[in-house]
Amino acid sequence: MNALTKRRSLIVLLVLVAITLGYLALDSAADNGSAYRASTAVTVIAICLALIKVRLIFREFMQVKNAPTVLRRLTDLWVLLIGATLLGSYFLGLAVH
C-alpha cells in the first residue's frame, strides 16, 4: 500500500464525513430550535446525499471502480433503484395521506 492509495482512501473518508456533518447543518436549517419541522426539501436532499455516499462507498471502498462493467452498471442501477423507490414511497405517502 503506497502513500498515494492511502491518501486517496483518506480523502474519500473526509468527503463522506463532511457530507455526514452536512446533514446536521441541513436539519438545523429546517428545524425551529428543538422542534422538528416537516420538510420535503430536507427529506429529498438527505436521500440524495445518502445515495451519493453509497455510490462513493461502492466505487472507492468496495473497489467497484476496477470491477467489470456489469458490476459497475449493476451497482449504479441499484443506487438509482433505491433512489426512485425511496422518493417514490415518500411522495406516494404524501399524496395518499
Binding site: 441499484w78 425511496l86 395521506h97
Partner: protein
C-alpha cells in the same frame, strides 16, 4: 475461489487487471439481494412516515443526532481501514493488513457500544419496540442492522484467520469478507439518513 496465495509478494500497489471482481461473485449477489430487502423496509417506513408526520417528527426529536453521526463516522472509518487491509493483503503486506483489520474490528466494537448505549438511553426514557410506530421502525431497523454487524465480526475473524495462515491465505476470501463489511456500512448510511435526518 482463486485459492492459495502463499508466496509473499513485494509490497507494491500494482493495480488489479481491469475487470477484477472484488471477492466472490456469490457475495455480490447476496449484497445486492440484501440491499433490495432493506430497500423494501425503507419504502414501507417512508410511506408510513408520510402518514403520521407529526408523530414521527416528535419521536425523532428524542433521538440524539450527534450519537447517530458518531456511529456513521465510526463505520465509515472502519470501511476505510478495511479497504487498506484488502490493499495491503493484495500487496503481500500481511502485518499491515492485520493492523488494519484489527482497527476495523475496534471501530466496529465502538459502533456496537454506541448503539447499545443509545438503546439503553432511549429505553430509560420510556421508548421501546411498542411505544409507537416510529420506535417500532427504529428498533427494527437498528436491530436488524446490528445483527448484520455481528455477522460482520465473523467475517473479520475469517480475514484474521486467513492472514495468520500463509498456507491457507486466499485474497479472494479476504475481499469477499471485506465486501460484506462494507455492506454493513452502506446499509447504516441509509438507515441513519432515514431515521435521523429526513424530516
Amino acid at each position: 475461489m482463486t485459492g492459495m496465495a502463499p508466496a509473499p509478494q513485494p509490497e507494491t500497489d500494482a493495480p488489479k487487471p481491469a475487470g477484477h471482481i472484488p471477492g466472490q461473485p456469490d457475495m455480490w449477489v447476496l449484497v445486492l439481494f440484501e440491499a433490495l430487502v432493506f430497500t423494501a423496509y425503507f419504502a414501507v417506513y417512508l410511506f408510513h412516515r408520510s402518514a403520521s408526520s407529526e408523530l414521527f417528527l416528535r419521536s425523532q426529536a428524542d433521538l440524539n443526532p450527534w450519537l447517530g453521526t458518531l456511529d456513521t463516522v465510526l463505520l465509515l472509518t472502519s470501511s476505510m481501514f478495511m479497504l487498506r487491509c484488502v490493499q495491503a493483503a493484495r500487496a503481500g503486506a500481511v502485518r499491515t493488513a492485520m493492523t488494519n483489520v484489527c482497527l476495523t474490528a475496534a471501530l466496529g466494537v465502538a459502533f456496537l457500544a454506541s448503539k447499545i448505549t443509545e438503546w439503553i438511553l432511549l429505553t430509560r426514557d420510556g421508548h421501546g419496540f411498542t411505544s409507537n410506530e416510529f420506535f417500532l421502525y427504529y428498533f427494527f431497523l437498528t436491530g436488524i442492522h446490528l445483527l448484520h454487524l455481528l455477522i460482520g465480526f465473523i467475517t473479520l475473524g475469517v480475514i484474521i484467520y486467513q492472514l495468520r495462515n500463509p498456507k491457507r491465505r486466499s485474497q479472494e476470501i479476504v475481499e469477499t469478507c471485506a465486501t460484506y463489511w462494507h455492506t454493513v456500512d452502506l446499509l447504516w448510511i441509509l438507515i441513519f439518513s432515514l431515521l435521523y435526518v429526513v424530516r
